[in-house]
């Protein structure tokens, strides 16, 4: 692949910023500094226009109507599917199931693929997973007696690969891991893990909620069997996400939700299923957001995912450097910017993350404070919560500087020493 890659053209965060109307607003009299992109990203003008345009010109139900509007709506909905397939290099658009979000995608795998598992089978997860990649498997374990195993993390917040190798066995039926931790930022070696999973006969489920928006992700070269992600974390609308799967796996799976759209034939006491992926999409789907999402993909493709990654790598490197120089923060996750995505979790030992986030908010700076839906990881790190700054394509060094000034101001507000050591 490297041989065919064109040179990366650096992105221009200021030009991109102009495309996001919300970034012009003020918060408590300060320009908004939005650093909560791992929770959700803002939406560009083209996505907003596409949403309005769908309802203004083409609104109809999909897949069942011969009239013009129904045809247009169906085409827009299916165009989203093929655009998503191309974006992550899925083998076939029939392998793209449109769901609500990454959480629903993982639940679908756990419930449907999980129904083939039973006593003695194992699912391998890790200590750094988001609740969305823990709880569906806990539910499966309760229902079917499946055993859950967890790869521990190292002191610098990476997967312990030796432990992972030791945990894999012929009993392992599913390996489900995040490609990029939403707390530590760690980028996991998914291709290597998928190969190891396949050697023991397990399927590889990838939680791509943080990776797909922020770095090039190639479903086929990763060797993934299932890949879950959400549109709203990649400049698209809320309420729509995707399960990308190898089509032959979907063929073999039973639907988990029944109703209209997902059937071929229904009698009073009998039903047969529609083809994939439709058999997993019961009821009227989220047509409007599917119609709007390709505008977000346009933006990401025009920018280029290698450029997105290069920008955020540079920014997180700068943030790590400035935050370390303060001298009083605990930083979580690898300190090497090459090994992490564009986010930093940190703790001021003297100020609770909630109080820190409150002070930052009064300066117009939006960061996340809390357990980030990763309570087991918080326990592992021995913290109740962390503060997290996460970057997107429109952030730049000025935003990092504003954050650092805010952290110094918080120290002053709480009457603590806050002289920079850097």
């Amino acid at each position: 692949m490297a041989g065919t890659a064109s040179p990366v053209v650096a992105l221009d965060p200021r030009a991109l910023r102009a495309r996001f109307p919300i970034l012009r607003r003020q918060v408590h009299g300060h320009p908004l500094v939005y650093l909560d992109n791992a929770a959700t990203t803002q939406k560009p003008d083209t996505v907003l226009a596409a949403l309005a345009s769908y309802y203004t010109t083409s609104n109809a139900n999909v897949h069942r109507g011969v009239h013009t509007l129904a045809e247009e709506a169906t085409a827009l909905y299916e165009r989203c599917r093929s655009r998503v397939a191309a974006f992550v290099n899925a083998p076939d658009a029939r392998g793209v199931v449109i769901v609500r979000n990454a959480t629903e995608a993982i639940n679908l795998v756990a419930r449907s693929w999980g129904a083939t598992l039973g006593d003695g089978d194992e699912v391998l997860l890790s200590e750094m997973e988001h609740h969305s990649n823990l709880v569906p498997w806990i539910m499966l374990a309760r229902e079917r007696g499946v055993a859950l195993r967890h790869v521990p993390i190292t002191a610098d917040g990476r997967l312990d690969m030796a432990a992972l190798a030791a945990l894999l066995s012929p009993r392992t039926r599913v390996v489900s891991l995040t490609a990029m931790s939403n707390v530590l930022g760690t980028i996991n070696p998914i291709a290597e893990i998928a190969a190891a999973a396949h050697r023991v006969g397990a399927v590889m489920v990838v939680d791509g909620a943080q990776s797909v928006p922020h770095m090039p992700v190639d479903f086929q070269s990763l060797g993934a069997d299932f890949l879950a992600f959400s549109a709203h974390k990649m400049y698209g609308p809320t309420g729509i996400g995707f399960l990308v799967a190898r089509p032959e796996l979907l063929e073999a799976m039973e639907p988990v939700s029944g109703g209209g759209e997902m059937i071929r034939e229904v009698r009073l006491d009998f039903a047969s299923w529609n083809d994939i992926p439709h058999k997993f999409e019961a009821g009227t789907p989220n047509i409007a957001d599917a119609a709007a999402f390709p505008a977000a993909l346009d933006l990401l493709e025009a920018t280029g995912m290698p450029a997105v990654r290069a920008h955020e790598r540079e920014l997180v490197g700068y943030a790590l450097e400035r935050l370390r120089a303060l001298g009083w923060l605990q930083l979580h996750g690898p300190l090497d910017a090459d090994a992490r995505g564009g986010l930093v979790s940190f703790v001021d030992p003297e100020i609770h993350p909630h109080d820190l986030a409150q002070v930052l908010d009064t300066r117009g700076i939006a960061v996340r404070a809390g357990h980030h839906c990763a309570q087991p990881l918080m326990r592992r790190l021995d913290v109740a919560a962390t503060a997290r700054a996460s970057f997107g394509i429109y952030n730049d060094r000025d935003d990092v500087d504003a954050l650092v000034d805010g952290l110094v101001a918080a120290r002053a507000y709480f009457g603590l020493a806050g002289e920079s050591h850097g």
Binding site: I351, H352, H354, D355, A384, A410, F414
Partner: protein, 164 residues
Amino acid sequence: MVDRPDVALDDLYREVVMDHHRRPRGRAPLARVDATAHGFNPVCGDEVVISLALDGDRVTGAQVQGRGCAICTASGSMMAEMIPGHTAAEAEATAAAFRAVMHGAPAPGGTDLGDLEALEGVQKFAVRVKCAMLPWVTLTDALKAWRDGGNEATSTTEAQEAER
């Protein structure tokens, strides 16, 4: 020199609140524990453990442990200072009055909220109301458990004593 952030922060972090946050009261362990409860805020991961010593239905000592933000810590500290010497019912009435204030209602007539009044500003910060309430919700749980289990156990012991 650093800019002073927005003054609205001072509504949240009043002097009295900051004092309780910096020097939280009620951290010392009790000689004996008659009621205890563990409270958890699933939104932020904050935890509080309340332990109480009771003499009859009167609270004689309170210990507040855990990890929480300035608001949660201050609220727990105020509680540890306020409730010893009061009956379980009085402590519960204070919890109810404080909850009312946190939800924008006036405190019921005759309730003295003491230092808790300094937390009044929290109601303007909707997400933080749970931080202020966590110690009080946990206290209510501890007293309920004490009544349900503890009361019965106490009465059984007394009944046994009476039979002798």
